[in-house]
């Protein structure tokens, strides 16, 4: 695959790459008890109009006084009414994010990183494999693809979570479930009384669904353990490492390849990623991802 | 003594009595030694005992798995005992090779006395209660009271308290009152002067955490400075937070600190950390008649209490 070129963000505040733009939370959707999606828009009218990004890119979000954390932009660039990101409550910044209300101001720097290679995906069959909150970056691409449906061939989506209550973006799942042009499967590790879908971990269900590798690209995102078990399944189904894409998650601070911590070999996940093919990942100097 | 150490440790590895030997080998710079942590019996030929064995090797006990033969000085042996008290290591997994310690040479003191850096000196040798320095063909003599680490001069128990093999005759303390000068001076200041003193000292701190990481008593898997919810200490090096880090570190190692002085020696920016640790050592001794690492069967200081003690702190 060819990743999109690395190029710096065009949207710098006061020519200082570390300064965030002020953005306002417009809506909050509680996805699960620990995960919420925040809709936001820039305060500055000009930026609001001009801002652009691509699916797979991320931003550094500031909760002033608490800190900054990176999250991918989980909305699609084809739907620019507002921007969205989704955060799980796991640490200092995300705890603070979960205390925010509508109207609160946050900071945003970005967009950073590379993006899903749309040219490479064009005219291909796309297999999306997501787990839990890992659907967030995929979702940006999925809506992007749906909004340009004629550019792509068949679309399959396998999405799973631990339990029905842990499924994110239920409103999207409903919409995709109704879309006749998408082969759509949801699964949970453990069902409950009302659950009528599949039960089983994502890699297992993927194996059962068995999408064809012919002219296909699989885009995988989820918890590391899911990703680790999904690649072998895809290989078994005939996908080559070039045909598998994922986005990596690392601890980040600067988001622009300077502070050092997301370094693996000679790449920096924030600058050279976060989207990589399995082929690229296998060529990394270390397995520390 | 060195030969005996080498043959003993070799035998321990050969007979399978231990999996690891932790000792000292010559360092890569003049007048230094470096920890040797090995499973290889041939490495034991490199083991040394000399007046430059600075490190408290008990620090490495928690990171190796299996049975360990460890070389200790008096203070180090007490750190080992303290780790046993805290259930960090088991006595039966250890073969303690005790060195009756006669004190370790403080190179910074030598540098000040001679007015030259350590790498410009030709030789430093210990002869009885003197340290002989050779520099540019000249010979200079200084008493040990001027050349050993302060904690060695203040040491009450230079002979290891707990050992399986003692490599020599028990040694006696030097007990030089000059070693406590720093603390004494501080105590003569007003509270405000003292606080300003520590503000000044701690404003040099760069938060390298060498003091913590070199300390056998600091064995937490996750240090409170790394906590973010709540964030006790701001993670950047500012004196206020540096000071809170040091205060808390001292409270956490109270009853575990054996005054080995490693924190002060490791500090790259010369913060007189021993003036903190030693005071806590004395406070614990005075209030609870507790000395760290004396009795492997005694409960750790902070898990224990007496019904009547420290009563004037509560009203």
């Amino acid at each position: 695959m060819t990743t999109t070129n690395i190029r710096p963000s065009k949207f710098l505040a006061q020519d200082n790459v570390y300064l965030p733009h002020i953005a306002v939370i417009e809506r909050i959707i509680e996805e699960t008890p620990g995960i919420r999606t925040l809709h936001f828009n820039f305060k500055d009218g000009k930026l609001k109009k001009e801002f652009s990004f691509e699916s797979g890119q991320f931003g550094e979000y500031s909760i002033f006084g608490i800190g900054e954390a990176p999250f991918c932009i989980s909305s699609s660039p084809t739907r620019r009414h507002h921007l969205e990101f989704t955060a799980q409550r796991v640490g200092r910044v995300t705890n603070a994010l979960h205390r925010l209300g509508v109207g609160a101001e946050i900071g945003f720097r970005g967009p950073y990183g590379n993006s899903f290679p749309l040219d490479f995906l064009k005219d291909k069959n796309l297999v999306f494999v997501g787990g839990g909150i890992g659907l967030a970056p995929l979702r940006s691409l999925i809506w992007n693809v749906i909004d340009n449906r004629d550019k792509y061939k068949n679309i399959a989506l396998v999405y799973g979570a631990r339990s029905p209550a842990d499924l994110c973006f239920k409103y999207d799942l409903d919409a995709w479930g109704k879309d006749k042009t998408i082969k759509f499967v949801t699964t949970v590790d453990r069902g409950d009384a009302s659950w009528t879908g599949r039960v089983g971990v994502v890699p297992k269900i993927l194996e059962e669904v068995a999408p064809s590798a012919k002219n296909a690209v699989a885009i995988v995102c989820g918890p590391p353990i899911m990703i680790r078990f999904t690649f072998p399944v895809l290989e078994k189904l005939g996908f080559t490492p070039e045909q598998m894409l994922t986005t990596l998650e690392k601890r980040m601070k600067c988001g622009i390849g300077k502070c050092g911590r997301c370094n693996i070999g000679n790449i920096y996940v924030c600058r050279d990623g976060p989207v990589f093919s399995y082929e690229q990942i296998k060529s990394f100097v270390s397995s520390e991802y | 003594m060195e030969q005996r150490l080498r043959s003993k440790t070799r035998a321990l590895l050969e007979q399978g009595k231990v999996d690891w030997i932790i000792g000292f080998e010559p360092g890569s710079l003049k007048f230094t030694t470096t920890p040797l942590i090995t499973k290889d019996k041939n490495d034991t030929d490199r083991l040394v005992i000399n007046p430059f064995i600075v490190n408290n090797l008990a620090n490495f006990l928690t990171q190796v798995k299996g049975r360990v033969g460890i070389v200790v000085k008096g203070c180090d042996s007490r750190s080992v005992v303290s780790l046993i008290q805290d259930n960090k290591v088991a006595r039966e997994d250890l073969v303690i090779l005790g060195i009756p310690c006669t004190g370790v040479i403080d190179l910074s003191k030598i540098e000040k006395l001679v007015g030259k850096d350590r790498d410009e000196l030709n030789d430093i040798a210990r002869e009885g209660d003197k340290v002989i320095i050779r520099v540019n063909g000249k010979k200079k003599e200084f008493p040990t009271t001027q050349t050993l680490f302060d904690n060695c001069l203040a040491c009450e128990l230079p002979t290891p308290q707990e050992y399986d093999i003692l490599l020599g005759e028990p040694s006696s303390p030097i007990a030089n009152p000059a070693a406590q000068e720093g603390i004494k001076k501080l105590k003569q200041m007003t509270p405000e002067q003292r606080w300003i003193f520590w503000e000044g000292e701690l404003s040099r701190c760069i938060r390298c955490y060498a003091c913590r990481n070199v300390c056998p008593a600091c064995f937490c898997q996750r240090c409170f400075v790394e906590e973010t919810e709540p964030q006790w200490v701001f993670p950047a090096p500012r004196w206020q937070d540096n000071l809170i880090f040091q205060i808390t570190r001292n409270i956490h190692v109270a009853g575990r600190c054996t005054d080995c002085g490693e924190c002060e020696r490791a500090c790259p920016v010369n913060i007189p950390l021993r003036s903190l640790t030693r005071e806590m050592y004395d406070i614990v001794g005075e209030l609870f008649q507790f000395k760290a690492g004396m009795d492997k069967d005694a409960p750790p200081l902070m898990t224990h209490y007496e019904e009547k003690e420290a009563e004037d702190f509560f009203r």
């Binding site: 690395i6 710096p8 200082n16 790459v17 570390y18 909760i63 002033f64 006084g65 800190g67 900054e68 796991v90 640490g91 101001e105 900071g107 590391p224 601890r251 601070k253 600067c254 622009i256 390849g257 300077k258 502070c259 050092g260 911590r261 370094n263 070999g265 000679n266 600058r271 100097v285 270390s286 520390e288 991802y289 | 360092g27 890569s28 710079l29 030694t33 470096t34 920890p35 040797l36 942590i37 490495f60 910074s108 790498d119 410009e120 000044g200 000292e201 040099r204 760069i206 938060r207 390298c208 955490y209 060498a210 993670p235 950047a236 090096p237 500012r238 020696r265 490791a266 790259p268 920016v269």
Partner: protein
């Protein structure tokens, strides 16, 4: 323009001239710690003891802790306020190794995005180098292409030729500085010969060596040799001395602090030796010590050269001198196992 010279006695006059224009920093000992500190116009006694500083001059450009910006909340929302522009610094007496180190980390701070804080200080600063005549026994600069007596990375280079310093302009800024400095004397042929000799002598005084040739490829070949890295890492205590005080280590952390109605975002030195450096909520790719030690060594001698074509080490020897357990990078580099793995053969670029 040719070189000039100044008597040691007159250095104080020279510094005083420069002080009109710059914030002058000179080697100073503060509570026993040698650092580049603001010169208060008093004396030049540092010339007697100075070998190198404990705190590297990178601290003048990337301070241990610095304010990135402040934010204040009012009725309209958050306002962001940048700190005022810094002063123009003149670093007097920087050693060739430390000057090279700045040139090396410039690459990181210029790459893709300009780092405004570091670069604004860097761009406005003047470096006045001072050749080493008495390198430490832990120095190994000559193995990394640094000469203790010479530097192309400063604006002006000084050589101690006895009672005088030879001043050699290196950059345009250095030439201008010489041109507008008063009290400088002309240089004789003898002075120049003497300076050359002194440079050679100090070069030969550096006896510690590493073989930097192909070190990246060697490291990559041995990268997966866990036994080797565990052995190398065994005595490391994972403190931050060798990284924080390394002139070419630039990693930083960013943190916010909140006070009543306003707050500040700070950045501060960070180190890959700390487990928390890479710790994520669920997992940590470098929880184990040997991985962190490997990262440090390989980043300096492997990854950084791949990205920026230069080894991120100048052989200043601080990491060896200051290490509490005498963990010696030169010994480690010499002991990298000579194994030819598939990887090592496949790639010579690293």
């Amino acid at each position: 323009m040719t070189s000039k010279k100044v008597t040691k006695r007159d250095v104080i006059k020279l510094l005083n001239q420069w002080r009109q224009e710059f914030a002058v920093f000179v080697p100073s000992i503060e509570s026993g710690v040698a650092t580049m500190a603001r010169w208060e116009g008093k004396d030049t006694s540092f010339l007697d003891w100075y070998r190198n500083t404990v705190i590297p001059p990178k601290a003048n450009f990337l301070p241990p802790m610095e304010e990135m910006f402040r934010f204040r909340k009012d009725r309209e929302g958050y306002n962001i306020e940048l700190p005022p522009d810094g002063e123009k610094q003149l670093i007097f007496g920087i050693r060739p190794c430390d000057a090279r180190a700045l040139a090396i980390i410039d690459a990181n701070f210029r790459d893709l995005y300009q780092d405004p804080y570091y670069l604004s200080r860097r761009n406005s600063a003047v470096l006045v180098g001072l050749g080493c005549t008495n390198p430490h026994d832990s120095c190994f600069c000559t193995s990394l292409g640094v000469s203790p007596g010479e530097s192309a990375d400063v604006d002006l280079m000084l050589t101690d030729i006895g009672d005088e310093f030879l001043l050699e302009p290196i950059s345009a800024a250095g030439k201008e500085l010489i041109a507008r400095s008063r009290g400088l004397k002309e240089v004789t042929k003898d002075d120049e010969t003497r300076a050359k000799e002194i440079k050679e002598t100090s070069y030969n005084k550096v006896t510690r060596k590493i073989n930097a040739e192909g070190i990246g490829a060697k490291l990559l070949a041995g990268f997966d040799d866990q036994d080797y890295w565990e052995k190398v890492a065994a005595k490391c205590i994972s403190c931050g001395i060798c990284t924080l005080l390394c002139p070419t280590c630039y990693c930083f952390d960013i943190n916010d602090e909140l006070t009543k109605q306003q707050g500040t975002r700070f950045r501060s030195w960070d180190s890959c030796a700390f487990p928390i450096y890479t710790k994520m909520p669920m997992e940590n790719p470098r929880q184990e010590k040997w991985r962190r030690v490997r990262q440090k060594v390989c980043h300096k001698f492997g990854f950084y050269p791949t990205n920026f074509n230069v080894i991120a080490c100048t052989g200043c020897g601080r990491c060896i001198r200051l290490c509490p357990v005498n963990w010696d990078i030169t010994q480690v580099l010499e002991s990298v196992p000579l194994i030819e793995t598939k990887r090592g053969k496949a790639s010579n670029t690293l």
